[in-house]
């Protein structure tokens, strides 16, 4: 039986290169340290009044304060959930429920994460999609607010990196509350303004998996869309994973502190990939080249099966994601690429992490063109 995880070793020139930080950023060292320290100190239920419970509550409140400070919001606006998806569900559906008397239609951009689209469909209420332009940016002039309960507009697109004009959407939305799925950008870009509720996901900034952040602004009309749980606040549900939450807060503080150094470095690496890949024959680099997330780039290769390209790159030691659905593993191609008018097959998303070196990028770029040509020759 092979080991489930290989132990960390000395740097090896033949080491695998992980280029899928947009799916999950490697654990930040600050998170590892905080997690280890909290495991022994934060086991009790933070609701309980005994000493161990109060200790857990203190640690949880410290994590909440640190997270709020890093995000530029108030501590009492921050709730921790069991995942980014859970935060999306609670945020979006809570605003929808809170607006019942004002409208019934959930309005969302055409390129929201599937968690938003499925949550909207689950309500049984009408939903309306707002189209995007060729870069994946929402078309403000097509924002129709008739009967709207809530407008969902992501901070930046998780597949192509394009930053959305959230504040302009909020200006136009007026009294209709705006929900922001900020999972793709939190920690990497400052939060936009003007929203009523927002969701983020710790493993995308280098925290452990299993921690989401829900921020509900004070004064927002938010009502619990799910069965009540008798926690400290109506926004909360379930027994918090305090060690993982502390680790997430430590990682967030660290990445926000390191952002001025990391973001330009990652931006330059992505620019380099965009330039080289954009020069390949029949390859389309998608998303806004400038107003984008610092760490990710997506491109589509004509006449190539995207999942086969992921497998071929993995064989060569490079770990990337794909929005294509050419095999049985997914039935529908990426709705994001389709909404942009981009090619859905032959699609690859490359996202760099704080550990990605310029040499990693050059090694990837040195094998990619031949990998594409090999797959084209097979078809």
């Amino acid at each position: 039986v092979p080991p489930v995880a290989s132990p960390a070793g000395a740097p090896d020139p033949a080491a695998r290169v992980y280029l899928d930080s947009a799916s999950g950023e490697p654990l930040h060292p600050a998170a590892r340290q905080a997690f280890a320290a909290a495991l022994d100190a934060a086991y009790a239920d933070p609701r309980r009044l005994h000493h161990a419970g109060r200790s857990a509550r203190l640690l949880l409140d410290n994590a909440r304060a640190a997270t709020a400070e890093a995000l530029g919001v108030r501590p009492d606006e921050v709730t921790f959930t069991a995942s980014g998806t859970a935060a999306v569900h609670r945020g979006l559906l809570g605003l929808h429920r809170g607006s019942e008397r004002h409208g019934r239609t959930l309005v969302h951009t055409a390129v929201e994460h599937s968690a938003v689209l499925h949550a909207a469909a689950w309500t049984g209420s009408p939903a309306r999609s707002v189209p995007v332009d060729v870069t994946g940016r929402v078309r403000l002039d097509d924002l129709d607010l008739a009967d709207a309960s809530v407008v969902a507009c992501q901070s930046a697109n998780h597949e192509v990196g394009t930053v959305q004009p959230v504040t302009a959407v909020a200006d136009r939305a007026g009294r209709v509350p705006v929900f922001v799925d900020a999972c793709a950008s939190t920690g990497r870009l400052p939060l936009p303004e003007g929203w009523a509720a927002l969701a983020a996901s710790a493993h995308k900034w280098g925290g452990p998996p299993g921690v989401g952040v829900l921020v509900v602004r004070r004064g927002s009309r938010w009502r619990d869309p799910f069965p009540e749980d008798e926690r400290a606040s109506e926004h909360e549900t379930g027994f918090e994973n305090v060690p993982a939450i502390l680790a997430s807060a430590a990682a967030l503080q660290a990445v926000v502190t390191e952002r001025d150094e990391q973001a330009p470095r990652q931006r330059a690496q992505v620019d380099r990939i965009r330039r080289v890949v954009g020069g390949l024959t029949n390859v389309d680099v998608v998303g806004d080249p400038f107003d984008r997330l610092p760490h990710l780039v997506t491109f589509s290769c004509l006449y190539v099966d995207g999942e086969a390209l992921v497998t071929e790159l993995d064989r060569l030691g490079f770990e990337v994601a794909s929005g294509s659905a050419c095999t049985a593993s997914a039935l529908e191609p990426s709705h994001v690429l389709a909404a942009m008018g981009a090619l859905t097959h032959g699609n690859v998303r490359v996202s760099v992490s704080r550990e990605t070196t310029d040499a990693d990028v050059e090694r990837f770029l040195s094998v990619l063109p031949a990998a594409i040509e090999r797959l084209r020759a097979q078809l």
Binding site: L302, Y303, S324, C326, P333, L337, A338, L343, H345
Partner: protein, 74 residues
């Protein structure tokens, strides 16, 4: 109109067929791809944009399968 039957083929096969056969028709003429693969709906117009051909729209074949029509421009 020249028609390519790509029923049952998965992406990117219908687009590869289209690229192989676009020169079967004259400049200004139409060629159609009948494909039930979901990706073709996005990929035929995207292919036209990337290769400088003109996407002429979506129709429905007699059996209900989508038929994507392309005008050869170059």
């Amino acid at each position: 109109m020249r028609e390519l039957d790509c029923r049952g083929l998965v992406c990117p096969a219908p687009i590869i067929e289209l690229a192989r056969h676009i020169r079967d028709v004259g400049i200004g003429d139409l060629i159609a791809v009948v494909a039930d693969d979901a990706a073709a709906r996005a990929d035929v117009p995207a292919w036209c944009r990337m290769t400088g051909q003109e996407y002429a729209g979506q129709e429905t074949a007699d059996d209900g399968a989508p038929r994507y029509v392309v005008r050869r421009v170059n």
